[in-house]
């Protein structure tokens, strides 16, 4: 009996020891936790608390009645969405556009970072960097204006060049087959420079001694890049890739709204623009919430998959 009692009571001292250790740790590292606090608060206020509102995806939501007193409708909004051909098309378009952005857009910042790393003249390097960062700071409205003007059929730069080469003008922005190319291209032009900053930082973190010994061994610059720089920044690349995959369903919504036309819905209409048109017209917040929830679930699955693959292949993972 005594033995049993004793063995039953052992976890308590264990727990005590553990919690004491935690308190000690907290006391020692409290400054670090204090710095963490704002982020935690931000997460709670802006990401966890709003999750309460997600339930309107399953309700017939009225703003006046409020979230709690609006009646439940089950999966009705999801049925509505998936019975709509335009929603299915929007999912396809979203995946196509994001996929293209990822495939063509992801490697470019890395290449840029590697190229910047090879520039020796510091003045030239800084100027070049500034120039490629700049488009990132221009607002979407202005970028859209530039794109519309550049691709205009009568006086646009692109068409003037085509004409000079003997081709006919093309009204690019009303041609569904051109929309993705223009949109993805614009996105790369705008973000590649800024995206290279992370990789540049990673490149800067590579130990100089590796390069020094490589020089002694007589390695060429290209070999150093290929054998040292890239393997060293691979973890950063993979983490960035996982994050990108998590955002794959979030396409730059304002840009599409400003660039698309009914004529290009066929390839340009993505989930967010579809919801914008459906939701704005009738203030269907519940339907929009359902689509948003669907979006989030898919993104979550994608992140888990990407993370698992990365963990298996390269031992690098988010968690």
């Amino acid at each position: 009996m005594e033995d049993i009692n004793h063995s039953l009571s052992t976890p308590e001292p264990m727990l005590l020891v553990k919690s004491r250790r935690v308190v000690k740790h907290l006391r020692k590292e409290w400054q670090l936790y204090l710095m963490l606090l704002p982020t935690i608060i931000w997460f709670i206020v802006f990401l966890y608390k709003p999750m309460y509102g997600l339930q309107i995806a399953f309700k017939d939501y009225s703003v006046f009645k409020g979230i709690t007193s609006s009646p439940w409708v089950g999966l009705e909004h999801f049925y509505t969405l998936f019975n709509n051909d335009q929603f299915i098309r929007a999912i396809q378009n979203t995946v196509m556009i994001s996929g293209a952005s990822l495939i063509f857009g992801f490697p470019i910042p890395i290449i840029l970072a590697l190229m910047f790393n090879e520039i020796i003249n510091p003045k030239f390097k800084k100027t070049a960097q500034t120039i490629v960062y700049l488009p990132h700071f221009i607002s979407a409205v202005i970028i859209a204006g530039i794109v519309i003007t550049a691709f205009a059929p009568s006086t646009g730069v692109i068409n003037l060049m085509l004409n000079a080469m003997g081709f006919d003008s093309v009204y690019f922005l009303t041609k569904p087959e051109w929309f993705r190319t223009i949109f993805v291209g614009t996105g790369i032009w705008q973000e590649a420079g800024f995206g290279s900053i992370v990789f540049l930082a990673a490149v800067a973190g590579v130990s100089p001694s590796l390069y020094e010994s490589a020089v002694v061994d007589g390695a060429s610059r290209f070999q150093m890049m290929y054998k040292i720089t890239i393997p060293c920044i691979l973890p950063t690349i993979l983490i960035m890739l996982i994050i990108k995959i998590g955002n794959i369903l979030e396409v730059g919504f304002e840009m599409i709204i400003m660039l698309y036309q009914p004529a290009t819905y066929e390839t340009a209409d993505v989930i967010s623009t579809f919801i914008y048109r459906q939701g704005l017209q009738a203030a269907q917040y519940d339907l929009a919430a359902a689509a948003g929830l669907f979006n989030a679930v898919i993104a979550f699955l994608l992140v888990i998959t990407a993370n698992t693959i990365s963990k298996r292949v390269s031992k690098t993972s988010l968690w």
């Binding site: 703003v63 409020g66 059929p153 922005l173 009303t174 009914p262 048109r277 459906q278």
Partner: protein, 518 residues
């Protein structure tokens, strides 16, 4: 009768005021709503402004009615919809709620209990509003919620004409063409604009037809007896003899689009019409390139003055709608008779009768004048019994309407606009254009909108936007020539049917019958 007498006295009094201090009118107390001064909270948010307690019009109304309004709407929010949603989600509504999108909002949340049905209140306490509705039963029908109640007093614009056709009349003279009277002549004129170099720069760079909104181009299907909308919103339904229809399934629309596609292909229509956007009018006119458009009277006629020195001989005058293939002249756009703006009484209001009487004040002659013209002696003077703007108001460099907004007049509270206010400051070309349109009978019977009940709304929300987007997608493809309307037409109609077009028309029709058929 007594009301009328009071009105007459007050008009006489107020016209006599010119020399006398303004206090004179308040002495009779004709408009006094409550004995004790009453203070009501108001949430009034529009795209341009929120209610301002310091507006002179508010102060004058408070003096006359003894009701003072106190704004509680956020001054920092710029989006009226957001401001309203925040308000309604909080549940604690102020006495009066008004501003943009008010019809949609009250007709949605009114039946749920957020706003007070006004039918009885109007009958008992608002003789002037009642008289207005008796005279305009279609307007009354148009604001009813699905439960048959009135939940708001609307802003009611006056005047008939909003947009019209405009053409470079100096180009016509230069090329020895006469003003096009029908669609075939219009075709010839536009072809001549394209080929005969009316701007005389030796280049074939003229853009015969341009539009700031591509939807206005589609509206040209009226030249082939098609329809695009019955209200001042694009792609809306229209009414033919009590039956709701949509233009985009009509035979006239098919003919119209076929011809517009041909015009587009031949270069008679701006190649960039779908993307050039709002800057197109300014750009094409000031560079002496644009030939014809369909746009607002007031702003478009203004170019006659502003480009006078820049473009030699520039003359951009209104063109009466050319006759369609069946010989009918149609101007499809007209000013809305009733707007989705105004004000409503919320369920928390403890002074509903006084509030109703206050609303009614703006439908009395004096109240209407106050809401339209501002303060006598400051913005206008009474001359021969008519309010005439003061010279310094008309000659000020700021637009007249902006000066009126500054004092709280022409603000979209529930009131009936008086078109004569606008006539006084319209430029002479606009007046000329409106006179031209007034000679003919070009307008069609407007569709003033319906309130769907919950079941109807569910059907409409689920189907309509999807159908409309499909219609627009095909529409642009046809005009651009990437598809052929005659090849597609049967599958197009079949597809629309499959998407539930009939059920949408059915719910619209039942809502229409409920409100408009007695």
């Amino acid at each position: 009768m007594r009301m009328v007498k009071n009105l007459v006295t007050s008009i006489i009094l107020s016209s006599a005021v010119i020399a006398v201090p303004a206090i004179a009118t308040s002495a009779d107390g004709a408009y006094k709503v409550s004995e004790k001064p009453l203070k009501l909270d108001i949430h009034f948010h529009t795209k341009k402004f929120v209610y301002d307690n310091n507006w002179l019009v508010e102060k004058e109304a408070a003096r006359l009615t003894n009701v003072q309004l106190n704004n509680v709407a956020s001054m920092t929010t710029t989006k009226s919809e957001e401001a309203f949603n925040l308000l309604i989600a909080g549940g604690d509504l102020p006495d009066i709620v008004g501003g943009d999108f008010i019809r949609d909002n009250v007709n949605r949340y009114g039946p749920e209990g957020a706003f007070v049905p006004m039918n009885d209140l109007i009958d008992k306490y608002a003789p002037n509003i009642k008289a207005f509705f008796d005279k305009n039963p279609d307007i009354r029908s148009s604001i009813l919620a699905s439960d048959g109640n009135i939940y708001y007093i609307p802003y009611l614009p006056d005047g008939k004409y909003g947009k019209g056709y405009f053409i470079r009349t100096d180009w016509l003279k230069k090329l020895n063409l006469k003003s096009p009277e029908n669609v075939d002549e219009l075709y010839k004129v536009l072809t001549a604009f394209r080929d005969n170099d009316p701007n005389g720069n030796g280049k074939k760079d003229e853009v015969p037809v341009f539009m700031r909104n591509w939807e206005e181009l589609i509206r040209m299907v009226t030249l082939w007896d098609g329809r695009t909308s019955g209200s001042d919103v694009f792609h809306d339904f229209h009414v033919v003899e009590g039956e709701l229809r949509h233009g985009y399934v009509g035979e006239g629309y098919r003919t119209g689009i076929r011809n517009l596609a041909k015009w587009y292909k031949e270069g008679l229509i701006d190649a960039e019409v779908f993307t050039r956007g709002s800057r197109s009018r300014e750009f094409l006119l000031s560079n002496d390139l644009g030939g014809m458009t369909h746009d607002w009277f007031a702003s478009t006629t203004g170019y006659n003055d502003s480009l006078k020195d820049k473009v030699e001989g520039f003359e951009f005058k209104a063109l009466a709608p050319p006759a369609s293939i069946s010989g009918v002249r149609v101007e499809e756009h007209r000013r809305a008779k009733v707007k989705n703006q105004g004000w409503a009484i919320s369920y928390t209001n403890e002074n509903q009768i006084e509030t109703m009487k206050y609303f009614d004040f703006f439908f009395t002659e004096e109240g209407r004048r106050l809401a339209n013209f501002g303060i006598e002696g400051k913005q206008y003077d009474m001359i021969d019994g008519k309010p005439i703007f003061k010279k310094e108001i008309l000659e000020n460099s700021a637009p007249v309407v902006a000066q009126l907004w500054e004092v709280g007049a022409q603000v979209q509270r529930g009131f009936y606009q008086d078109y004569s206010y606008e006539l006084q400051w319209s430029n002479k070309y606009a007046l000329e254009a409106i006179a031209l349109y007034d000679q003919g009978d070009y307008l069609l019977k407007p569709f003033l909108g319906v309130a769907l009940n919950e079941k109807e709304k569910a059907v409409f929300d689920k189907r309509w936007i999807t159908i409309r987007d499909y219609m627009l997608e095909m529409q642009q493809a046809w005009v651009l020539g990437s598809r052929d309307i005659d090849e597609d037409w049967d599958t197009y109609i079949a597809q629309i049917d499959r998407m539930g077009y009939d059920s949408v028309v059915k719910v619209m029709q039942s809502a229409y019958d409920r409100a408009y058929k007695k």
